[in-house]
């Protein structure tokens, strides 16, 4: 139903990722999730496709295909494996965008984009505090749920340093990363609880501070919103598709479930929300690629999309009935992952507060 026009290169991103999803990510999604097993090989294979750099500027070592390419790739990944999609977003979106404009991080960014350096991103919402300590800085704070943390070699930490923002890189083995058992979602994305108890890093680990850091964090935040929306849209569409197939196959009271009006209307409402969110996400990506302010649309998109994903998964479970409560039908996984995504990167309430501030700031 869509004619979201893609450039030739963007279309190639879509095709490449779709193939990766069909061949690698989707077939392993259930098993990795159930056992909480990190999708290590899958992520390595994804990195090998070169897709991690699609949305990164060419002069920073990326392919320069814009936020639209991030949206395309994340949406496709999320249809097959939400955990892989989240790891992709962490690297290609949050970390990638944060590091994109930081000369001090060029080498690190290179490693992230090739997949040689596995990262975890500790966003500004955790309120990590940095203070001068010898030649370097010491970090204090905790982030109760960081995707990729248990597999990360480096953590990119957004912190407050002398009243300014700062971006700091910390070796993962220098901090405490506790496993989350079972943890609600993204179980195959190696999530962990990160505690920074006065860990010290040398001065050159501070990749940026002040305005440079604020800009980096702002880029990461936009990627979290637009890419997060795309992730949720992909998950929502997957839930709808699982539910649709089940409702066609499953017979109750002498006819397929899909012929029950109540079931059909559930699918319609789920798809309605997913499509509405999808348009917002794509629009935000296009605005961003045009150099326009995409902040508000991105916030609306992420709010709409996580709502759509949770709703779609919830209804998909309901359409599956007892089957939906078991781990074999994908939909309970989407339900957990959708709710988890809603809470991450600052959460839905913070988005509402930000949007309310925008409305209040309008001229009367």
């Amino acid at each position: 139903m869509h004619n979201f026009e893609l450039s030739e290169e963007q279309a190639m991103v879509q095709e490449t990722v779709r193939k990766f999803v069909d061949d690698v990510a989707a077939p392993q999604a259930l098993e990795h999730d159930e056992h909480g097993r990190y999708v290590e090989e899958g992520f390595a294979a994804l990195a090998e496709t070169g897709m991690l750099g699609a949305a990164i500027a060419e002069d920073a070592g990326g392919a320069g295909l814009g936020m639209v390419s991030l949206v395309v790739a994340t949406e496709e990944l999320a249809r097959g494996c939400t955990s892989t999609a989240r790891l992709f977003l962490d690297a290609a979106g949050l970390a990638g965008k944060a590091l994109e404009g930081l000369p001090a991080a060029a080498e690190l960014l290179g490693g992230v984009l090739t997949g040689e350096v596995r990262i975890g991103f500790v966003g500004p919402e955790h309120g990590i505090v940095a203070r001068a300590a010898g030649d370097g800085v010491a970090l204090d704070g905790a982030a109760p749920f960081v995707t990729g943390a248990r597999a990360a070699q480096q953590l990119i930490v957004c912190a407050r340093l002398d009243g300014e923002q700062a971006v700091v890189v910390v070796a993962a083995d220098a901090v405490e990363v506790a496993p989350l058992e079972p943890g609600l979602g993204f179980r195959a994305a190696a999530p962990g609880a990160v505690t920074l108890a006065g860990v010290t890093v040398p001065g050159d680990a501070v990749l940026a501070r002040g305005e440079e850091a604020a800009a980096a964090i702002s880029r990461a935040s936009l990627a979290a919103r637009i890419g997060g929306a795309a992730l949720a849209v992909g998950s929502a569409l997957a839930s709808v598709e699982h539910a649709r197939r089940h409702s066609e196959e499953r017979i109750a009271f002498g006819k397929p479930l899909a012929r029950q009006q109540a079931v059909g209307h559930k699918l319609v409402e789920s798809r309605r929300r997913a499509e509405a969110a999808r348009h917002l996400a794509w629009h935000a990506a296009r605005l961003s690629d045009l150099g326009q302010d995409a902040g508000e649309v991105a916030e609306l998109a992420r709010l709409s999309a996580t709502d759509a994903a949770l709703h779609a998964a919830d209804e998909a479970i309901q359409i599956h009935g007892g089957y939906g409560y078991t781990v074999e039908y994908h939909v309970e996984r989407h339900y957990r992952d959708a709710k988890t995504l809603e809470v991450l990167d600052g959460g839905a309430l913070a988005l509402r507060d930000a949007l309310a501030a925008r409305i209040a700031a309008q001229a009367t």
């Binding site: 159930e34 955790h126 982030a143 109760p144 749920f145 989350l180 058992e181 079972p182 943890g183 609600l184 979602g185 999530p191 609880a193 017979i251 109750a252 009271f253 109540a262 949770l310 919830d314 479970i317 309901q318 009935g321 007892g322 939906g324 409560y325 078991t326 781990v327 074999e328 309970e332 339900y335 957990r336 709710k339 988890t340 809603e342 809470v343 991450l344 959460g347 839905a348 309430l349 509402r352």
Partner: protein, 394 residues
């Protein structure tokens, strides 16, 4: 002018039948169940969930407190406390551990209550002594791969072989199936969609009874849900529960009680979620101790608290009707419908309000456990169907 209007006395003299308070007796029972839940369940529920471990010892302790005989008639050693008392008890248990809650609920409201109502004296004499003290746990085998909401579509066959029946065909999603010693099994003794169904009492130890695949589930992981394999199981005719061909009606008999059990489970989960939110918001105060919680979070707490009270009244009303032997189908469906939706909303809100910290620990378990309440004992839309039929028949 009615009597009330022409009265001249003060209204405080009117003996008001309407009331919303439990008797002192029930309050004491509630306190007992709460103490059990807080000491024997709450400290361990998270570990049981993580390890998908059936809480055998806790169930034994429940039995010791008499919680497994509340639907067993007194003449068979039960306490026959009735539906309201069961609901009160189940809310407390489920506020701590929904896996234990559903184990107790199935045993009481689907197995013992059915045996009490439909069983012969001989059946009761044989099974209640084992069931009442938890020596045997009961399970209820209705669902099949092809029949969930549409129970009458079942295909498990019971062939008449003279002095016994031979039962063949697997049963799916059997709560506590791997732990139970007695099964109520619904099987097909005739072709008629409804009148071809018969209920049987089947013992775990009989030849041909086996445990099949164990389901891996979103939540209530400490309650094993398994496939029960029935392969050429010989069931003496004396173990027909009720009459041959009346199995569907037997199954219908359990519907309201089962729904009240899940409504009560939902209340317990919702209450736990609301308590979690309240405790979290209570920590958010300024230097003067004034609450600083977000309005959005406070408002959500308010909505949930109001719904909890409303759902509890819906549940207890249906229980009181059932205790009096009055029809309560739509009322029980209302309770199950609204309470199960509430449990899910409350649990999801708890995760949201706790933030990233809610993604592991109690809140996330609540969210996973709550989700089953909208599914078993009749999915949400089946409750709506029952209520709508009742409304249109008014």
């Amino acid at each position: 002018m009615t009597e009330l209007q022409s009265r001249t006395g003060a209204h405080t003299d009117v003996p008001q039948v309407i009331d919303f308070e439990l008797t002192d007796e029930l309050k004491a029972f509630q306190a007992d169940a709460r103490e059990y839940a807080e000491t024997e369940l709450a400290p361990f529920a998270e570990a049981w969930d993580r390890e998908a471990r059936f809480p055998r010892d806790a169930i034994a302790k429940a039995a010791a407190r008499g919680y497994l005989k509340v639907t067993i008639p007194t003449e068979y050693g039960g306490t026959d406390l009735g539906n309201l008392a069961s609901c009160v008890m189940l809310e407390e248990i489920n506020a701590a551990c929904p896996s234990t809650g559903v184990t107790v609920s199935v045993h009481n409201s689907l197995v013992c209550s059915l045996l009490a109502k439909q069983g012969s004296h001989e059946q009761k004499e044989r099974y209640f002594p084992k069931l009442r003290d938890g020596e045997w746990i009961g399970a209820y085998c209705l669902s099949e791969a092809g029949s969930g909401s549409d129970a009458a579509a079942l295909t498990c066959a019971a062939r008449d072989a003279g002095d016994h029946f031979v039962i063949d065909g697997p049963k799916l999603w059997i709560t506590t199936g791997s732990e139970a010693a007695l099964f109520v099994v619904f099987a097909r003794t005739g072709e008629d969609r409804v009148k071809g169904i018969t209920a049987f009492l089947v013992e775990r130890e009989w030849p041909g009874v086996g445990i099949g695949k164990k389901e891996r589930k979103l939540g209530i992981k400490a309650s094993p849900t398994v496939e029960i394999l029935l392969e050429g199981v010989k069931v003496p005719k004396s173990n027909v529960l009720g009459e041959v061909g009346r199995g569907f009606n037997v199954a219908l008999d359990t519907l309201d009680g089962g729904r009240l059990g899940i409504a009560s489970q939902s209340l317990g989960i919702a209450r736990h979620a609301i308590d979690t939110i309240r405790e979290h918001l209570r920590t958010q105060v300024d230097a003067k101790g004034r609450p600083t919680a977000h309005q959005a979070d406070q408002w959500e707490l308010a909505d949930l608290a109001a719904d909890l009270d409303a759902c509890r009244m819906l549940t207890w009303r249906a229980a009181v009707l059932r205790d009096r032997g009055l029809p309560c189908g739509p009322q029980a469906a209302m309770a199950k419908l609204k309470a199960s939706l509430l449990a899910n909303r409350a649990a999801r809100s708890a995760v949201s309000i706790l933030g990233p910290a809610g993604l592991s620990g109690a809140a996330e378990r609540l969210m996973r456990d709550a989700r089953i309440c909208e599914i078993y004992e009749g999915v949400t839309d089946i409750q709506r169907l029952v209520i709508a039929r009742g409304e249109l028949a008014r």
